[in-house]
Symmetry: C2
Subunit: 893 residues, 2 copies
C-alpha cells in the first residue's frame, strides 16, 4: 500500500491532534501519562467544569448517600482500609487542600451540589468495579477538574475475559511462506520496496507469530505475561475502561462531566507526516493506537490505491489505442474529407447560418479518442475491476480480522446517546403530570415532526439542485444566443469557448458550495432526528449526506449524458425553453466528449479545492480560533501551555465525535469511486489517473453503500455506452444497413434531410448565402423520414431499430456484468488460503497446547500430592479436574 | 408450520430408518444403548469385519508397539490400574474368552494382522483421550465386531469446553411476550391451533428459558448439572465423540473399520408417522435427535409451506379477476365477433386451407385468463414474495441459531474423505519408486482426467437433452402433418388434441427418466473427482445435479416461451426443418397458455410419480432386498433379528452418506421453487396451488443456489411478460397507434396482409375454396409491411417499436424488482427484534451473574478464611483472583 500524500490529508483530523499540540519534552509527557505516584498508567480521563466559587469536593464519606448496589457498597466498605483505595484517597486529600487555598468562600448552588453528588456516586461505582481514580482539580487549566482513571491488572484481566479478548499466548510458531512462484515474486518486490517501509520497531521477527487465545484468568499461565505493563496495549486498556463504565453518556449529556477521553500515545514520527508520504502505511501501528475502525479505513485506502495501478495502466493502453486508430476511423475520415460537402442546418435561430460538416473535423477526431471499441472494452474491464476490488477488500478484511484477533466488541457499544437520553427524560418529565408510568423510549409519534422535516428538507434540497442545474443550462443557452448576436467578431468567434468555460466554473463553484451546505443540512437533520445510538447517528448521517451529495454531484452529469441533445426537437419544429431559447445540441461526435470534459473539470476542481481548502485549511483555522479563545480567557496561558500534561493537552483537541469526520470524508471518496469505474469508464484514462493521484476509500458501513453504488454504476455504465456513445448506431449501420459491410456511409446514414422551405417563420437564417450558395436541403443529426416521404419528419424505422438494439445491449451488458461479478465472488474464496491454513494450524497447536497442559498437570499432581493445598492459580484447574474425574469414575464403576 | 404428508414423504430416508427396524421391546432396546454394566451409555459405535478364522484379539499389551504419542502412553501406563481403564479391561477380557470358544484355530493372515494392529493402536489412542471402550465380538451378527465407545463425564466436559459449546446455566429467566396487537393475535391463533401441536413432553414452561453460556470446566458451578446424564443430549454426546477421533476416515477407507455411527434415540411416536401429518413439526425435537442440518431442513419446509398460503390466495384472486373480465376483453370480443370476417392464412402447407379468425374465439377467451393486466401484477407480486421469503428465512435461521445455541461446530468437520485419503496413499505409493518425498495432496494435474471427463460428460448430457427436445418438436410437427393428411375425418378433427397429449406424455416420461439418469451421472462424476472433504463432495454433487436437472426440466419450457412461434418465417417464405416440416406456430392468443399447460402437466406428473414412486417405493424395495440378502446369509437370522440390540440393528440402516439424499431431494424442490414464483407467475394461480399441496424446500448450501435461481427467475419473468404475453403489444397499440385510445382495432393491427398469389409453388392450399369464397388477401400474425408497400413483407416500423418497448420493459422490470428486493432486504432486519432484545437481556443477566458470583466468592472467602485449603472447583477461581489482586496492589503501592 503506497501511502500517498493525499491519504494523509484525509486523515488530518486524527493526525493533527497529535501534531499540533504534542508537548515537546518527553519526560514531561511521560509524567502526564501516569498518576502522581508515577507508577499507575492513566487509561482514561474524565473532566468536569469547576466553578471557581465552588469548594472543590466536600469530604467524601460524609455525603455518601448511595442508594443502589448495596452489596457492592458493603463490599467496598469492608475493604476500605485496603491499599486499593489508599492511593486515590491520599492524592485526593492533597488535591483538596490545594483547592481550599484557591477558594476560601463557600457558595453552594443547588445545581452544582447535585452535580457533585452525582459525580461522587458515579465515581463510587467506578471504584466498586475495581478501578483506581485520581482527582486533580489543581490543574494548570483553570476551571477544569480531571478524574484520571487507572485500571489495575485484576480489573483488566476480568474485563478482558468478559469481553473475550484474544490475547497472545506464550506459544510462538513459525509462519511458513509457501514456496510458490508468486511468493518468490512477492519477496522480490518487497525487497525492492524495502526503503519504502516505515521504520517501525518490531518486537519479534516477522515470520514468528504468537498463538492467540481468548483470555481467561484461569488460564493466565498460558499467556505471555513477561511484561504485564504492555500485555494490554493502550488502545485495549482504554477500550476496557470505556467498556466498564456504562452510563457515562447520560452524565456527559446532563453536564455532570464535560468530557471523557482516553489518552493517546504517540504515532507521530513515522506516519503522520507529509515527508514520509511515499512510505507504506504501518496499518498495524495505526490500528494499535486508533483502534480497528481507523485501521480498517487506512487499509481500505491502501488497497484502493494499489488496485488503481492496473486500472490506470489499462486506461493508458486504451487511450493509446484510441490515438493510434484515429486515422483509420472511417466516420471521422468521412467528416473531414473535403469532397463530402454535406450542408448542415443552422445551430441556432436567425443569427446562425448553414455550415459544412467538414468544419467539425477536429471534434470528430477528438471524439474518437473517447468513443471507440476499446472504451467499451475498458468499461467492461472496469466493472470487473470493481468486482475484483470488492472481493479483495473482503479478503483484506478477513486477513486483518485474523491478524488483529478481532472480536468485534467495538460494535457492541450501543449505549444510547446523551441527546437521546435527554429527550427521553424531558418527555417523561412532561408526561409525569398527566400519566403515571415513565416512558422508556421515543416512539414514532414523537419523532414524526422530525421525520416530516427530514423528508421535506431533503426533497426541497434536491429541488434546489435541479433548479440550479436548470439555471446553468439557461445561462449557457442565453449567453450563447446573446454572444452570437454580438457585433464584435472576436466575441462571436469564441462563443463556444467563453460559454463552456464560464458555465463549467459556475457549475464547479455551485457544487462546492452546495456540498458544504448539504453536509451541514444533513448533520442538522440527523441531530433533529435524535437517533438512539452513535451507530444509528452515523448511519443516518451518512445516508443523508450521501443522497444529497450524490444528487448534487451527478445531476449536471446525468443531464449531459442522457438528456442533452435529445430534447432538441427538429428543424422547423425546435423545442424552446421560455418560448425563445432553443435547447442545446451536442457536437457531431455525440455528447460523450463533453461528458468527459465536464467530469474532469468538476473532479479536478473538487479534489484540489476541497482537499486542500476544506480539509487542511479549515481545521487549522478552527484550532487557531479555539486556541485564541482559551488564551483570552486566562492570563498566563502561554507559559502554562508549555508545562501542560498529557491529559491536559488532550483537552484542546476537537471534541471526539466518533469517526464521523473521517467517514464524512469518505462520502466524497465514494462519489469518486463511482466516477472512477463507472460513468467514466467509457470515458478516458486520465481521469483514472486523477483518481490515482487524488483518491481513496472507505470501510465498514460504507461497504453496503458501495455495493449499491456498484450496482447503479453498472446500469448507468450500460446506458452511457449504448445511448451516449455512438457505439450501437455504428454497429447497427455496419451489420444492418451498410451495403458493403463497412462503415463507409455511416455519417450520411445518421443525418436526416430537411427542406429549408419548412422553416418556421422568423426562424430561418438571416444570412442564407453564407456558404456561398443557395441551400435547399440541409442535414441534421437524427433518424427521421425525409421531406419527400409520405410522413415527412416522422421518426423513422431506423430510429426504432437502433433504440431496440440499444436497449438489448443494456440488458446484455447489465446481466453479463452481474454474472461476471457473481463468478468473481464465487471463484475467489473469501478467506485467503494462507489464512485458512494458518487458522487450521493454530487450532491444532491449541489442541496440542491444552493436551500437554492437562498431562503436565496430572504428572505434576502425582509427583507432589502433598502440595495440594498450594492450589496456585497456575495449575489448580486441571489438577482439580483430574481429581474430579477420578472420583467420578469411582462412583460410576 | 403445517406438517403435511408430503413433507414426511421427503424425509423418508431419515424416518424409515427408525420405523422399519426399531426393536419392539423397550427394555431390550434400553439394554442395547448401554455397556454391559448397564451404566455407561453407548455414544458411538465402530464396527469391523471379523474373519471367522481369525483369533479375535490377541493379548493387547504384548503386541503394543505404539510409536507415537510417547507422553500420552507413559501417562496411560502410569494409570493402568486406575478405574478408568478397569471397566473396559474387564469387559474386554470377558469378550476375549467368548471369542476364544468360537474360534479355536489360529490362522494369521498378514493383512488381518496388520488391521488388527492398527485397530489396537487406534483404540489405544482413544483410551488415551479418556474414552471408554467395550469390544463385543460375540454379537448376534456373525462376522462383525463392535467397538462401543462411551465418553465419560470428564471427557465430555473437556471436549465441550474445547468446542465452545453453549450449555444452559442454572439461571433461568422469563421471556416476556410483548403486549402488542400482533402478539395477542398470535396467541389467539396458537390457541385455536392447539390440537395441531404435537404432544411433546416439555421439561420446562415455555416462557422460561435457561441462560446459555459457553461451557467451561472452571465455571461448572454455573451450569445446571442436576442431571448429569442428560446435561449433554445424545446428539451432543455423539458429536463430541466424533469430534475427538480425527483419523477414523482413513481407517474406514483402508478397511480397518467397516462402519462408524452414533446411536440414534427414538423419535417415532409423534412425528415420523403419516397419521399425524396435520400437526405442527416439532422442529426442536427433530434437531435434538438428527442435528442442526436436518432440523434446518424441516424448518425450511415449514416456512415454505407457510409462505405459500398468501401467494396462493393472491393467485386465486388474480384468476377470479381474469374470469370476471373475460367478457369485457375487447381483443377477444373482436375475435369472436362474427362480423369481423377476417380470413387467416393456412396453418400448414397444402392440406390446410384458409380459416376464419372467429373460429379461434374459444382459445382467445381462454388466453385472457392467463394473460391479463392482473397476471402482470401477480408476477411482480411473486417476485416480491420471493424476496420476502428469502428474508424471512434469514430471520428464521437467526431465531433457530439463537434458540439452539448454535456454534457452527458441525461445519468444521472437514476431515478428508476416505476415498480421497486412499487416492493420496496410492499416489504416494506409486511415486515412492521414483521420487523421495511423499505427496501430501492431489494436485490439479492428478485431477485433470477427472475434470476433463466431467466437462465432456456434462456437455454431452446437455446435448442429449437438447436433442431430445428437438426430437419431441419434430415428433409434433411430423405427426401433425401426417394426421392432417389422414383420410379419417375423426382423426383430422382431433389433430391438436392427439398431438398435444401424446407429446406432453412423451415429454414427461423423458424428463422423469433423464432425471434419474442425470442424478446417477452426477454422482458418478463426483465420485470420479475424488473431492477432499464431505462438504466438498456435497457441494460438487449438488452443483452438477442442479445444472443437469435444470437443463432437463427447463429446455422444453424455454423453447415454448421464447422460440416457438418466432422462428416460423412468413407466408410465402416459411422456415422448414429438414426441408419439409414447417415450424410450429402458437395459437392466436400467444404461447402463454400453451406454456402454462405444459408446465402444469410436467410438474403435476413429476410430483405425483417422483414423490410416490422414487421416494417411497424404491427405498422400501432397497431395504427389502438388503433384508433378504442378509437373511440368506445366515440361518437363524429371523429369531436373532428380534433379539438384536440397538447398536446391532443400526447396522442394517443404509450406510450413512451425509445428508446428501435429503439434499438431493431438495434439488427437485429448488426447481419447483423456480417454477412457482417465476416462470409461472405470469401464468396462473392453480399451479401455485399444486405447489402448495406438493411442495417444500431447503437450507444451507442451497441458499446460494436459491439466490442464483431467484436472480435468473427475475430476468426470465421479465422476458415472459414482455415477449410471451401480449401485454406490451396491447399497451403499444393503445397509447401509440389506437385512433381513439381504446383497444378497438388491436386484432387488426397485429395481423399483416398476404397476397395469396405470392405463395411458393406447391405450398398453396389444395382446397382454396373451403370457406366458400375465393381468397385474394389472407392475414397472418406478424408486424410486416403489406404486399402493396415499396418493401413488401419486410419487417415494419411497428415491429421495431414494439421490440424497443418490450426491451425497455425488461430493463425496467428487472431493475425495479431488484430495487424492491434490496429494499425488502434493507427494511426487514436480519435479526428479529425480540431475539435481539433477548440477546441484549441475556448479556446483562450474564454480567450480573458473573458480578454476583465474584462478590459472593469474596464474601465467602472472608467468612471462612480457614477453609482455604478446601479450594474446591466451585469458588477457587475468584477467591484466588481476589488474593492475587491484593498482592498485586500491595506491590504497587
Amino acid at each position: 500500500m503506497l501511502n500517498l500524500s493525499h491519504c494523509l490529508s484525509v486523515s488530518c483530523t486524527c493526525c493533527q491532534l497529535l501534531k499540533t499540540l504534542t508537548p515537546e519534552e518527553n519526560g514531561h509527557c511521560q509524567r502526564g501519562l501516569y498518576f502522581q505516584d508515577g507508577q499507575r498508567h492513566v487509561d482514561y480521563v474524565l473532566t468536569y467544569a469547576l466553578k471557581k466559587s465552588s469548594p472543590g469536593r466536600s469530604i467524601r464519606y460524609s455525603t455518601h448517600l448511595l442508594t443502589e448496589n448495596a452489596v457492592a457498597r458493603s463490599l467496598r466498605r469492608s475493604h476500605q482500609p485496603s491499599s486499593t483505595e489508599k492511593g486515590s484517597l491520599s492524592s485526593q486529600t492533597s488535591t483538596l487542600s490545594n483547592v481550599d487555598l484557591h477558594s476560601p468562600g463557600e457558595h453552594f448552588s443547588g445545581q452544582e451540589d447535585q452535580k457533585n453528588f452525582r459525580r461522587e456516586e458515579f465515581e463510587g461505582k467506578l471504584r466498586d468495579m475495581g478501578l483506581e481514580l485520581e482527582i486533580d482539580e489543581d490543574s494548570k487549566i483553570l476551571g477544569v477538574g480531571f478524574v484520571k482513571i487507572h485500571a489495575p491488572w485484576n480489573v483488566l484481566c476480568r474485563e478482558a475475559e468478559f469481553m473475550k479478548l484474544k490475547m497472545p499466548t506464550k506459544r510462538v510458531y513459525e509462519v511458513k511462506k509457501s514456496s510458490g512462484v508468486i511468493e518468490k515474486l512477492n519477496l522480490l518486490v518487497s525487497k525492492v520496496l524495502e526503503p519504502l517501509h516505515p521504520h517501525v520497531e518490531e518486537r519479534q521477527p516477522k515470520n514468528i507469530k504468537h498463538l492467540s487465545h481468548t483470555f481467561s484468568r484461569e488460564k493466565q499461565h498460558l499467556f505471555d505475561l513477561s511484561d504485564k505493563d504492555s500485555f494490554f496495549d493502550s488502545k485495549t486498556r482504554s477500550s476496557i475502561v470505556s467498556h466498564t463504565k456504562i452510563c457515562i453518556t447520560s452524565l456527559l449529556g446532563s453536564g455532570v462531566y464535560t468530557a471523557a477521553y482516553p489518552l493517546h500515545d504517540l504515532l507521530y514520527e513515522e506516519w503522520a507526516n507529509y515527508s514520509v508520504f511515499y512510505k507504506y502505511q504501518p496499518i498495524g501501528l495505526v490500528r494499535k493506537y486508533f483502534g480497528e475502525k481507523i485501521g480498517l479505513y487506512f487499509a481500505w485506502l491502501g488497497l484502493y490505491t494499489q488496485m488503481l495501478i492496473p486500472a490506470s495502466l489499462v486506461g493508458v493502453i486504451v487511450f493509446l489505442y484510441g490515438c493510434a486508430t484515429v486515422d483509420d476511423n472511417i466516420p471521422s475520415m468521412e467528416i473531414c474529407h473535403q469532397k463530402n460537402n454535406i450542408t448542415m442546418c443552422p445551430l441556432c435561430d436567425k443569427v446562425c447560418s448553414y455550415w459544412k460538416l467538414s468544419s467539425a473535423c477536429g471534434t470528430a477526431r477528438a471524439s474518437h479518442l473517447f468513443d471507440n471499441p476499446a472504451t467499451v472494452f475498458f468499461s467492461i474491464f472496469m466493472a470487473l475491476w470493481a468486482a475484483m476490488f470488492m472481493e479483495h477488500w473482503k479478503r483484506r478484511q478477513m486477513r486483518l480480522n485474523y491478524e488483529w484477533d478481532l472480536t468485534g466488541f467495538e460494535d457492541e457499544e450501543d449505549h444510547p446517546r446523551a441527546e437521546y437520553e435527554f429527550q427521553v427524560m424531558q418527555k417523561s418529565l412532561s408526561r409525569d403530570h398527566k400519566t403515571q408510568y415513565k416512558m422508556e423510549k421515543l416512539t414514532c409519534r414523537d419523532r414524526l415532526p422530525a421525520y416530516m422535516t427530514n423528508v421535506v428538507t431533503m426533497l426541497s434540497m434536491i429541488g434546489v439542485t435541479f433548479a440550479i442545474v436548470f439555471g446553468v443550462i439557461l445561462y449557457r443557452i442565453s449567453t450563447k444566443a446573446a454572444l452570437h448576436m454580438s457585433s464584435n467578431p472576436v466575441t462571436r468567434n469564441h462563443v463556444q469557448l467563453t460559454v463552456k468555460t464560464t458555465a463549467a466554473i459556475i457549475n464547479l463553484v455551485v457544487i462546492l458550495i452546495l456540498d458544504e451546505v448539504y453536509g451541514a443540512v444533513a448533520r442538522w437533520l440527523t441531530v433533529l432526528e435524535v437517533p438512539k445510538t452513535d451507530k444509528n447517528f452515523e448511519e443516518r448521517l451518512i445516508f443523508k449526506t450521501f443522497i444529497l451529495k450524490f444528487v448534487n454531484a451527478f445531476t449536471p452529469i446525468i443531464y449531459i449524458a442522457f438528456f442533452r441533445g435529445r430534447l432538441v426537437g427538429r428543424p422547423g419544429n425546435y423545442l424552446y425553453v421560455f418560448e425563445s431559447y432553443r435547447m442545446e445540441e451536442c457536437t457531431h461526435g455525440g455528447c460523450l466528449m463533453e461528458l468527459c470534459i465536464q467530469l474532469s473539470i468538476t473532479m479536478l476542481g473538487k479534489q484540489l479545492i476541497q482537499n486542500n481548502l476544506f480539509e487542511i485549511g479549515i481545521p487549522k483555522l478552527k484550532k487557531l480560533i479555539r486556541y485564541i479563545q482559551s488564551k483570552q480567557g486566562t492570563f498566563q496561558e502561554e507559559e502554562r501551555q508549555k508545562k501542560l500534561q498529557r491529559y491536559e493537552t488532550d483537552q484542546f483537541l476537537e471534541p471526539f465525535s466518533g469517526l464521523t469526520p473521517e467517514y464524512m470524508e469518505m462520502n466524497t471518496q465514494i462519489l469518486h469511486f463511482f466516477y472512477t469505474f463507472d460513468i467514466f469508464s467509457p470515458g478516458i484514462w486520465y481521469n483514472i489517473f486523477f483518481f490515482y493521484i487524488f483518491d481513496i476509500f472507505s470501510p465498514g458501513i460504507w461497504y453496503n453503500i458501495l455495493r449499491g453504488v456498484a450496482k447503479v454504476a453498472v446500469i448507468i455504465n450500460a446506458f452511457v455506452i449504448s445511448f451516449t456513445s455512438d457505439f450501437i448506431p455504428r454497429m447497427v449501420y455496419q451489420y444492418m444497413y451498410s451495403p458493403d459491410g463497412t462503415m463507409h456511409g455511416f455519417v450520411n446514414h445518421t443525418l436526416s434531410y430537411f427542406n429549408v422551405s419548412n422553416f418556421q417563420e422568423g426562424k430561418e437564417p438571416m444570412d442564407p448565402m453564407q456558404l456561398g450558395y443557395a441551400v435547399e436541403i440541409c442535414r441534421y443529426k437524427d433518424y427521421r423520414e425525409p421531406p419527400w416521404s409520405t410522413t415527412p419528419y416522422e421518426i423513422s424505422k431506423e430510429f426504432w431499430a437502433v433504440l431496440a438494439i440499444r436497449l438489448a445491449f443494456v440488458i446484455i451488458f447489465q446481466n453479463v456484468v452481474m454474472l461476471m461479478n457473481d463468478l468473481v465472488d464465487w471463484l475467489i474464496p473469501d478467506i485467503p488460503k494462507d489464512i485458512s491454513l494458518q487458522i487450521h494450524k493454530e487450532k491444532i497447536l491449541l489442541v496440542d497446547l491444552f493436551m500437554k497442559e492437562e498431562q503436565g498437570k496430572s504428572i505434576n499432581l502425582e509427583n507432589s500430592a502433598s502440595e495440594m493445598n498450594k492450589c496456585s492459580r497456575n495449575n489448580n484447574t486441571t489438577a482439580q479436574l483430574y481429581m474430579d474425574s477420578q472420583i467420578h469414575t469411582y462412583q460410576h464403576t
